[in-house]
Symmetry: C2
Subunit: 173 residues, 2 copies
């Protein structure tokens, strides 16, 4: 059984790093909770969005993300039962490509390089299960889909949900 697992907002806390960077630059204290039901950049004042949009293109941004809570141990257990691939739609950010590889080496060394996919869209993935935080990735997938809850997707419907990695474990282990 092939299981695809997304990176940002599923195993890597990109939103958290974005807000940390933003709050530091503007001396604010926007929280993830304020981004409930919308994209993280929609939670900040419009006149500052262009500046903040830059963050994802900065060297080091993706290299220094924190792993999402419990993703490491549950994913390691999943590799015993499934053929696990990491699949990240990373091509929009060329700076992220090597950083994502190095980040996986550090935090998920049990995911062999053969099991890593950096792509543009995910319409081309052939497998059995996809865990992702985005409807536009989950909708076209032919197998079982699990939406990993993130502030931006709390109002999305149509897919089984996991609110955290313990719940992923309960669903799949």
């Amino acid at each position: 059984m092939i299981l695809f697992v997304d990176m940002d907002e599923v195993i890597a806390d990109a939103c958290g790093a974005f807000l940390e960077r933003y709050n530091l630059e503007f001396n604010e204290s926007v929280t993830l909770a304020q981004c409930h039901g919308r994209e993280v950049w929609e939670g900040i004042p419009e006149e500052r969005r262009d500046v903040a949009r830059r963050y994802h293109h900065e060297d080091g941004f993706f290299r220094n993300l924190k792993p999402i809570a419990n993703s490491q141990e549950i994913l390691k257990a999943l590799t015993q039962k499934y053929n696990v691939y990491i699949a990240s739609a990373a091509m929009e950010f060329p700076n992220s490509l090597r950083e994502k590889s190095e980040w996986l080496d550090e935090h998920f060394p049990f995911i062999h390089w053969k099991k890593r996919i950096l792509c543009g869209d995910k319409h081309i993935l052939k497998g059995d299960i996809l865990i992702d935080d985005r409807s536009f990735n989950l909708d076209p997938f032919e197998g079982r889909t699990i939406m990993f809850t993130s502030p931006h997707n709390v109002n999305s419907k149509g897919h089984q949900r996991a609110n955290n990695w313990q719940e992923v474990g309960e669903l799949l282990l």
Copy 2:
């Protein structure tokens, strides 16, 4: 119709660059013809292979490859008829990831970032046609397969062949 196209030895001349680098370092003149029916590193003396194996890990190696003859114009024409994705098993070489993205920006700007895949193995690709120089990529593919001829694969059987990009055009346009 989704068409996947490999990079190294199909649109990017990695073997040529390898030999150029090797010949420069050792003041030799090994040619691609001498690698007929075997891997390029098998065409050089055994005691020098460890040194040469390093080349693929050097910064700049993948960024400076020459496009394979006629790949640009034929592939551009193919994008009018097919949903073309570039699919490269690049994960073994983290140094290559950003370089491959930049190389595509320069030589194949008509391939949108959404249509680029850097992966480990290609077993997870779902599509209709795969053009590749490696049996281990072509064999598990469910759709139509086209082996792009390279010195190392001249003795491989089991797949339709294109000896150059004109022949790809004849088969698919």
